[in-house]
């Protein structure tokens, strides 16, 4: 219920604010989708076809109706029916938004999931080791790398990864291959992108884990675990990490949810045709329906991620479990 409310509030916001950013009037907006020197009649016709001549609340109603019940468009000799969930037709490319989103989603999911696994494993490992030997050479070296990881922009790390791994030592492929087609190729082509994205995030996670572990390892229950005569490795993993990991799960869920809405820069740098790249492309061309579609999808993922995080948290921490 809250989920629906949030998503619809987001939609409403975008719907009424975005056109204001793209152009002051419907005329100006319509003009952007026509070629050179359009006549007033041309503008009016395009405006009509895009539904921009209707009052805003009606446009909103049609948009919502389209998502729930589908819509019909007049795009030439024949009318086209767009099945629910219909996110409308792109003003510029004149293609349905929803199939675009669904066809791009696997790319974004592949990117996000692969990178997430990498950064979680590497970030947490580095964080734990750093926490166990604070101020050691290892700790300082890795926290230095982590700082660099956080600070370096994707433009740099991404391009560097491409340069090194696809040109200098062409180990990795370039063109995205769907997982269903060839899993090995899929991983091979995505690997540089995963690494670059993971570097950015694992740096954050290493720092999170480190501070979390440093805190947890001072807890009384760690002392108790040691007093039982547990091996230090068990104390660290079973007692320390278990407790330190819980807040990280929350951050992780949120990050993943955000990423599923599209990694704009990473997808652009690695020429991946994902949701994020679609967003960039649509924003560049002031193409309203895809922007709406992407934002809605992203909002949906964030809300879902929130929900999952709450559920996961309850599973991980018995103290917040509902009785």
């Amino acid at each position: 219920m809250i989920l629906l409310l949030v998503v619809s509030a987001v939609t409403f916001g975008i719907f009424f604010l975005l056109p204001r950013l793209a152009g002051q009037t419907a005329d100006q907006l319509a003009q952007q989708y026509i070629g050179k020197s359009p006549s007033a009649a041309d503008i009016a016709a395009v405006k009509h076809n895009l539904g921009l001549d209707q009052p805003l609340y009606l446009q909103y109603w049609h948009f919502i109706k389209g998502i729930v019940a589908g819509a019909t468009y007049n795009l030439g000799p024949t009318t086209v029916h767009c099945n629910a969930p219909c996110f409308g037709y792109s003003f510029k490319d004149h293609v349905e938004v929803w199939p675009q989103l669904t066809s791009r989603l696997p790319v974004t999911v592949s990117l996000a999931a692969g990178a997430a696994v990498l950064w979680l494993v590497s970030g947490v490992t580095v964080g734990v080791i750093s926490a166990l030997k604070p101020r050691s050479f290892f700790d300082r070296a890795f926290m230095g790398v982590a700082l660099a990881g956080v600070s370096l922009p994707m433009f740099f790390t991404g391009n560097l990864a491409i340069l090194l791994f696809t040109y200098q030592w062409p180990i990795f492929g370039r063109t995205y291959v769907p997982f269903t087609e060839n899993p090995a190729q899929w991983a091979n082509t995505l690997f540089p992108a995963w690494c670059s994205l993971a570097l950015l995030y694992s740096a954050i996670y290493a720092r999170l884990t480190r501070s979390g572990m440093l805190e947890t390892m001072n807890e009384d229950f760690i002392r108790t675990a040691r007093a039982k005569g547990l091996r230090e490795r068990n104390v660290v993993v079973k007692h320390g990490l278990r407790a330190a990991l819980t807040p990280i799960i929350t951050v992780f869920g949120m990050d993943l949810g955000l990423l599923l809405g599209g990694a704009l820069i990473t997808e652009s740098v690695f020429s991946l045709h994902g949701i994020g790249q679609y967003a960039v492309q649509s924003i560049e061309s002031n193409d309203l329906p895809p922007i709406l579609g992407v934002t809605l999808l992203a909002a949906f993922f964030v809300v879902i991620a929130n929900l999952l995080v709450d559920l996961l948290y309850a599973a991980a921490d018995p103290r917040v479990r509902l009785s």
Binding site: N218, R223, A225, A227, K228, G229, L230, A243, D317
Partner: protein
């Protein structure tokens, strides 16, 4: 007694042969635990000796920072695993049932922990892992030292919960720490500590976090269990009421050293050290007038980095000027056997001590 200038002495008799295997079950000799910090060397424990037999209870009392908790952690070998453990400097000897622990390998000490010696902590809520079931935590403690199936260990856990007086143990075994009341949690903690029948139980302020009524129950439980298992118990507390209840011997610590020790009756009847007097004065008693309840020891506990010269207690001692000259400020008093049959480290002449105790302190208590 020249060799005592640096060491303390044990309850009952002075220490004389440092490297001989002792007769007592637990014997601590000249234990020093120092932590280097940015501000200087923290001398948490600075030359402590005592011994303890099985079936007996030794109470270590003192203010926060007097070194009593560090002593217990040092016996358990936990002092070097904590946050400041890396650089800890430790010397002296700890003998447990004929085995020396200070110079033993960390893994040997680990194998003894939880098995031959175990520990109960002050706040059972924070001392138990919030994410694991009580039962699982007890099972874990049992299986570290016993190669048994989870099922067997679980049976043992239920048995232990039942033994420490937790109702419906078969059901509560699957509860989480936050679902237990404070007293029940401490009972579970005790069950966990005793699951391997340890011969030495160290209880670090086991009742401090609990209600007064529950405190008594827990103390009763510890005493009963001690009788049943025949363990030696080290009870660390700042509460002399608890001491009176349970201890056989008392060791009063101040500034990382022992200032007085002896059988519990002696300490309560004829305490010799002004700090002990202070502790007794600050002990709440039901039979006392409201007006002069709780006379706290004035001043702050000493810094463990710059321990006051001479008698560490002299800045707070109302009688520091009675001994002649500046002996209280320059010479560290050693433990001496006092007529009543216990040990005290104080420069006050015996006559003065007796007079002050009988005339000034005792009537107010």
């Amino acid at each position: 007694m020249t060799d005592l200038s640096k060491t303390g002495a044990a309850v009952g008799e002075p220490v004389n042969a440092p490297s001989d295997a002792p007769n007592a079950f637990l014997e601590v000799r000249d234990l020093k635990v120092h932590f280097p910090t940015d501000d200087g060397l923290v001398k948490s424990v600075d030359g402590l000796s005592f011994s303890l037999e099985k079936g007996k209870t030794l109470s270590i009392v003192g203010e926060s920072g007097s070194g009593k908790s560090v002593t217990s952690l040092a016996i358990m070998g936990l002092h070097r695993l904590g946050p400041r453990g890396k650089n800890v400097q430790m010397s002296g000897e700890i003998w447990l049932d004929g085995q020396e622990l200070v110079n033993a390998s960390p893994d040997d000490v680990r194998k003894l922990r939880g098995q031959q010696m175990s520990m109960i902590f002050q706040d059972p809520l924070s001392a138990m892992h919030p994410y694991y079931k009580i039962g699982d935590q007890i099972v874990e403690a049992y299986r570290v030292h016993h190669d048994v199936s989870k099922k067997v260990a679980r049976k043992r856990a239920i048995e232990m919960l039942d033994r420490v007086g937790i109702p419906e143990p078969a059901k509560r075994v699957d509860g989480y720490p936050h679902e237990f009341s404070g007293g029940m949690r401490q009972r579970a903690m005790i069950a966990m500590a005793l699951v391997n029948n340890p011969e030495l139980l160290i209880a670090d302020e086991p009742t401090t976090a609990l209600d007064v009524t529950v405190q008594a129950q827990i103390l009763d439980l510890i005493r009963d269990l001690q009788k049943e298992f025949g363990s030696a118990v080290v009870l660390i507390t700042h509460d002399l009421g608890v001491v009176a209840e349970i201890a056989d011997d008392v060791l009063v610590m101040y500034g990382g050293r022992c200032v007085e020790r002896g059988p519990v009756d002696e300490i309560f009847e004829t305490p010799q050290h002004p700090y002990t007097w202070g502790l007794l004065g600050s002990m709440p008693r039901i039979d006392r007038e409201t007006s002069d309840r709780l006379i706290p020891v004035k001043g702050q506990p000493p810094s463990l980095i710059n321990v006051p010269s001479g008698c560490a207690f002299h800045p707070r001692c109302p009688y520091a000027d009675i001994p002649k000259g500046d002996v209280t400020r320059t010479v560290r008093p050693e433990l001496e056997l006092v007529p009543g049959g216990h040990w005290s480290a104080c420069h006050l002449p015996a006559a003065d001590r007796t007079r002050i105790w009988t005339e000034e302190i005792a009537p107010k208590l």
